[in-house]
Assembly symmetry: C3
Homo-oligomer: 265 residues x 3
């Protein structure tokens, strides 16, 4: 199985993701290609890094993830390929792989990061505006074909990293922030379940709203209820049953969230 995934901010209007697939299949006809998403908000590298970090653990060992959210395309920012444990990354050097890199480091996995500087593995004509097509897709296809990372470029040790926001301790709990709003309008925070594991109960504050207790599942509330639960990535999340917490609360990415253990509990 030669598995390649695509994660971009290209949208689904213009055929750009299909063009990447055409380039890949020209070089590696038996590659399998999976779209993770092409609807990352344009130029939002942080959102891309987060989405890639959420999806990558569910792919088999050896999967090559092409991620292209690339406001610096055509400038001196480096094109990269990397082995991060049992997964591979191909994309611009702007922090998109931060979450994968952090996890690989924490787990003590093998890490090799390569500056792609061998044009013989690219398309013959390289534009200044579409490196997904001209550099990243062909490099990933050659990698899938068995070309070793070391032939694609030279090792580097200073990739760009994003500073992912972490929650801070407050009396009796944590102060974090909303880091993602999904298709359903669920608000994911950067407060993770392990940080709440000794809490007998929780009280979550967001704007003027206070939510008491964590529910087990959406269906345990009544339609329209605002509730807190641990989402499928292990994050404290605010949701409206059969509705949108985003619309209900008029919240945006970066807004603060506090969670404490109530004194009476």
């Amino acid at each position: 199985l030669k598995l390649i995934t695509l994660l971009t901010d290209f949208g689904l209007l213009d055929g750009y993701p299909g063009i990447l697939q055409g380039v890949i299949l020209t070089i590696s006809p038996d590659a399998r290609i999976v779209d993770i998403t092409h609807n990352i908000k344009p130029h939002d590298v942080f959102a891309g890094a987060l989405a890639l970090g959420s999806a990558a653990p569910y792919f088999p060992p050896g999967t090559i993830h092409i991620a292209v959210v690339d406001p610096g395309v055509g400038t001196r920012r480096r094109p990269l390929a990397a082995r991060l444990g049992d997964q591979y990354f191909v994309g611009p050097d702007n922090g998109l792989m931060t979450d994968l890199l952090n996890k690989a480091e924490i787990q003590g996995d093998a890490i090799d990061i390569i500056h792609l500087n061998q044009p013989r593995f690219w398309l013959p004509a390289v534009s200044n505006v579409f490196h997904g097509r001209d550099i990243f897709a062909p490099s990933a296809a050659h990698l899938a074909n068995g070309v070793p990372l070391s032939e694609l470029g030279c090792i580097i040790h200073d990739p760009v990293r994003l500073q992912l926001p972490t929650p801070s301790a407050i009396p009796g709990g944590w102060r974090g922030q909303v880091i993602h709003i999904d298709h359903f309008g669920n608000l994911a925070t950067n407060i993770e379940s392990f940080q709440l594991q000794n809490f007998r109960s929780v009280e979550v504050s967001l704007g003027s709203q206070v939510i008491h207790g964590l529910l087990h599942a959406f269906g345990d509330g009544k339609p329209g209820d605002l509730l807190a639960l641990i989402d499928s990535s292990g994050r404290l999340s605010l949701c409206v049953v059969n509705g949108s917490a985003e619309k209900y609360l008029n919240i945006k990415i970066g807004d603060p969230v506090e969670v404490v253990q109530p004194e009476s509990s």
Copy 2:
């Protein structure tokens, strides 16, 4: 050919459909995966059942359809797998397979419905909010690998069914309703072509509009014309040539439609 389809209300923003593909390919690397749609209106089980019923007949025997529109995820609603004639269904027990089940019964096909209760075929950690990833995708992948339905769980005979609305007879015709509005703004009704087969002509009433006659094809009208025709699923449908009947008529799902044979015909 191990063919698995995906039909969900996950949207294309967050990478959830790609995660399902990663899970499937980890377990069944040679499975082929087709997206039917991920844009079912959130929590709209009826719309999901209708879309699955329209698409499934065009897939080859043995296809496994994963359908996840699942407001009850994490509650006591059962996860199911089913053989319905020559197609398979994997998803929550909330009526999503109603149309497939009805057709299999009418055709006298073999039907086996299983309550998925064998966690060894699921992901090791099962969340309360994403059974598509944790239960349905791995179960479908094992099914594709040849694990028999009977190993995945125990037989049930009382699946949840939706009551699909049927048209009622009125003097000289039928009273039905709009059941789907498609991407083009075409309005599909629950009145089917066989119910009109003895009509020499038709008069369709919808709100204050009356349409005389059925056209053969969109292109037989002039741009902007409101017309009635039999759509690709065999349903009486209201359309605007090169335009949107939805915008033209300001109609919504559930609005009544009457069709009669005009007296003069």
Copy 3:
């Protein structure tokens, strides 16, 4: 590799693209299928032809492109299949393949155009409203299986062609127009890089805006800057760094653009 691409105006709401895949895989189980886009503006044949022309060169020889933007479905417009150099086209006879045909002619490639008139290669029941499903998908699948073009229908020499707009010479430069607005809000014109190759510098006028000079890459401007550059298809394009030129300029398809060599250069 039996590679089939899909380009339509079906949208991603209703499952129509998935139905095409089901039909194809029923006939040709080992075909590989790539979505180019399903978000062509409804009935916009010109936009479809342009998108197909941009994407096709990146697919391997032998690729079969199904393109369905088909306001004339069910009328006397002919269904076609064509060999245009090393690529194949299947779709309605309305000009969708114009760009592919023009390129094949310019390159002196072999061209064979067939009127699909052999119903034995279609689905048994053909609707008047969904030839993508009933005629084009099965015809493409049989073509992928090795059925020769000549068995699918009879040769024609008068396919419908679109008149693609070309820029006109003005004193010191060119007057063209905006022909595409992409997902990022970048405005592509029909003025191509080869037409500017002897220009020492350029001055681009669009509405009341004048842009001086061509930048190399998005990242060479400051966020919010309006700039001109050569896009990934070799077209003069107007862009806003990390923003949308469409919103900034309130421009639409067809609006005029002039580019001249400034007198002082």
